[in-house]
Amino acid sequence: MIEKLKSFLSKIDGQYADLRYEIKTETKIIFSGKDITEVSACPTDGFVLRVIKDKSLASVTFTKEEDFQKALKTAVNNAEIMSKSKGVPVEFAPAPVVKDCFILELKENPSKISIEEKIDLTRHYNEIPYQIPNIMHTDIVYSEVTREKYFVSTEGSELSEKLVTTRIAGSIISSDGKIMQTVRVGVGGSNGFAILRNREQEFVKKAEIVSKLLKAEPISGGVYNVILNQSLAGVFTHEAFGHFSEADLIENNPSMREKMRLGAQLGVEILNIVDDPTQPDQLGFYKYDDEGIQAIPVQLLKDGVLVGRLHSRRTAKAFNESINGHCIAEDYHYPPIIRMGTILIQPANTSFEELLQILGNGLYLCDAMGGQTSGENFTFAAQYGYRVKDGKVTELIRDINISGNLYETLNNIQAIANDLKLGEIGGCGKGQTNIRSCYGAPHIIIKNAVIGGAQ
């Protein structure tokens, strides 16, 4: 395939061009309630062409080989239009020419597991919640996505990499006939099928929680001091802070760019944040990004000071900063954009029990249920939570959404625990879906968090 891609690229007259071809195979086993409604395992494929001409970058995605000339013509025309309209001039930061074929050794290659065994395991986990009172429905999906990527550039890079992502995940719904409650559940990762085995306890725990939520008290809207558990603190790190360490989200926003200048004290001194796609056995692992750059860890926040950001080759040049291999595409439908790999708050020395004592009275909020950010402002939901009284975790609460301002919140972090945990499901929907976006944190305390509530 590499040779075929090289022959296509040889027809291009421009400053720079790269061509990526992918075969994406997705195995899906879908349970809706106790019914199995789909089993599919289909390969799809496609190309992504990027061309720089007259300091303008244009990209075209296409399905059929015979559409290459049409795609090339479109890309060149669009680049010329951008150049003539005095768009933002594009240059790439220099990068080493790399030739490599990387295939991660998996702990049980899912392609070696029969579809029958995958169905049986998914059915087994799907049946667990129904042993708990008041569980009325489950939506549980086995998903195995393999991206087999081939990349060549006119600079001479020739790469192939295979990424395999597996998970069994979904939602559990309880009902008492009057209201319904929902929690998410899931196990998975990027290092093979083994991580999916012997995970019954995750499904038991979540089923018990969603059953109890039926009798939980809805939270009243207001301002609270809160402890976020690792999942929720991870979402906060990803949504509220992480996106603004992505250079493409701030480069054309002058007010955000001014605030996100390197060296700015953005948060409390105990706060350290890193993005590290090289962490082994984590969902966010990859070796090369979709521009052919080897990924490296990036310290983003050190002692509360902004010290790094995530880049593509284009933004690295525009910011005069170093490339770090964070430009990733969902698949062959898209040119790559800047993404987090594995972003996390680095742990401190405080135990969770000590955090509860520091909090005294407030809320303990657990497990993410989606989030979104807009400039300095963010919102994310918790699946459930507890009141904390005199440093003790007490009654269950529900209907919890948190909203806040990034900079105020980074300065309202009162304490960080020593119990870092990374998510197994993750995901991010910044224009494209990145199912391997991984995030996590230790427990943290945030003062004065705004919580929405219907009461």
Binding site: A58, M82, A454
Partner: protein, 437 residues
């Protein structure tokens, strides 16, 4: 496609082949400058088969091997998904105006010229960040099956979204234009956008409490997603809806009439058949506050012993591969009947309240139960019928089956919508809990 269907037909009881082709360009301006033009030339095939009352499914992008394609669908029979559904027998009986030939002459040069014109007008009046996202292109759908259905539709579209962003945010006032061909933004619309920006620019403080809340059309998906969940055929079948056994009951204010209108072809993507070839129709979901219908695809209609409402769509939320999706019950053309007051008259009804011009987190929370709890960005503050500015760090929360009983007024005009909805007005609700820092 016919050859492939003939090949498949020999080994199954029923088969359905779906093909799509999509060609478009996306033009993006950031902070008033042309940032990107992306081209897309995509196609794909889906195959559904029924053998011994069991449903199978496969998809591919490049049809290199019909044998492998069929083999994928036959393998999927292992799921044992039982059904008595029969694929559609319908033919194209009437035609909607979904394709404007002049889209073929449209190019990025003309589109860029129009964007530059809009940017120039806005920049003369506004010293702020202006972003534009514009997509134009064509799409084609073909469905054939072993029951004789042979359907095709071609669509053209031109979607223009402009955001005037407030400082220190990524959120702003949004303007949407949808057409089936090139369509310049009217100067009067830009004047309205500029006027509202200046009204909303000063920062204000808001005391938390229960007040009037006006959802602009672009944010109504917050509540509509919960209704779409509650009336979906699959959620009715699995009893995942608070609306079970409530057909004929008054669930919302009598001022609300909400219907599916797939034949409304002033905007792109009107449909005479859904993604499984069933003829579509206009029908009520809620009429004068009374729940009238749920909506179904073929699979769940069969499960429920009823007929498909023509709502089996490959429900694409974000960038998914269309061919990889099976049809599910989906409301693709939701419309709300306009009221009798214009936007200015409705704002005049607000002694104290907020205007929801953008939301954060509408996809999170307990959607099946109808709950919502969202951040508002931007959140415009209104006092005595006047927009006085905007408030930061504000949330609203509630349950749609309470909130939508408290409709004060529905606007008399429909606008093109995003996310969910085809043509929507602004709606003013009373007594919604608002929390502000």
């Amino acid at each position: 496609m016919k050859d492939l269907l003939s090949f498949v037909k020999k080994q199954v009881d029923q088969a359905e082949l779906y093909y799509y082709q999509s060609v478009y360009n996306g033009v993006e301006y950031q902070n008033g400058k042309l940032n990107e033009i992306e081209g897309t030339i995509q196609c794909g095939y889906s195959l559904r088969i029924i053998k011994d009352n069991t449903l199978g499914f496969a998809y591919t992008k490049n049809l290199n091997s019909p044998e492998l394609f069929l083999s994928g669908a036959l393998s999927s029979l292992k799921a044992g998904t039982k059904t008595n559904l029969r694929f559609s027998e319908s033919q194209n009986k009437f035609v909607l105006k979904t394709y404007e030939p002049e889209i073929g002459d449209l190019n990025s040069k003309k589109v860029v010229k129009e964007c530059n014109r809009v940017i120039k007008i806005l920049k003369e009046k506004l010293n702020t960040k202006i972003d534009i996202h514009l997509i134009y292109g064509t799409e084609e759908i073909n469905i054939i099956n072993t029951n004789g259905a042979e359907l095709s539709s071609r669509f053209s579209y031109y979607l223009f979204l402009c955001s005037v962003v407030f400082p220190h945010t990524a959120g702003g006032l949004d303007y949407i234009l949808k057409d089936k061909k090139f369509s310049p933004v009217p100067d009067s619309d830009l004047s309205d956008l500029i006027k509202m920006y200046y009204q909303a620019k000063p920062e204000q403080k808001l005391k938390s409490g229960r007040i009037k809340v006006l959802f602009l059309p672009i944010t109504l998906y917050t509540v509509l997603w919960r209704l779409i969940s509650g009336t979906a055929g699959h959620n009715i079948y699995y009893k995942k809806s608070p609306l079970i056994n409530k057909i004929g009951e008054k669930i919302f204010s009598e001022k609300l009439t909400i219907y599916e209108d797939p034949h409304y072809d002033a905007y792109p993507f009107a449909r005479t058949f859904d993604d499984e070839g069933t003829e579509t129709k206009r029908f009520m979901i809620v009429e004068n506050g009374v729940l009238k219908n749920f909506y179904y695809d073929l699979f769940y209609a069969d499960k429920m012993g009823t007929r498909s409402t023509g709502n089996g769509y490959k429900n694409i939320m974000r960038g998914s591969e269309i061919a990889a999706l099976k049809p599910v019950p989906s409301l693709e053309h939701i419309t709300i009947k306009p009221g009798e007051k214009n936007l200015k008259e409705i704002i005049n009804l607000m002694d104290r309240g907020i205007i929801v011009a953008g939301v954060l987190g509408a996809h999170s929370g307990n959607i099946p139960n109808g709950d919502f709890s969202v951040g508002i960005e931007p959140c415009l503050y209104v006092e005595k019928g006047q927009i006085l500015g905007r408030v930061k760090n504000t949330m609203i929360a509630g349950n749609i089956y309470d909130v939508m009983k408290n409709v004060v007024e529905v606007e008399d005009k429909l606008y093109p919508a995003i996310m969910s909805g085809k043509a929507l007005p602004a709606i003013l609700f009373d007594d919604i809990m608002v929390v502000s820092a």
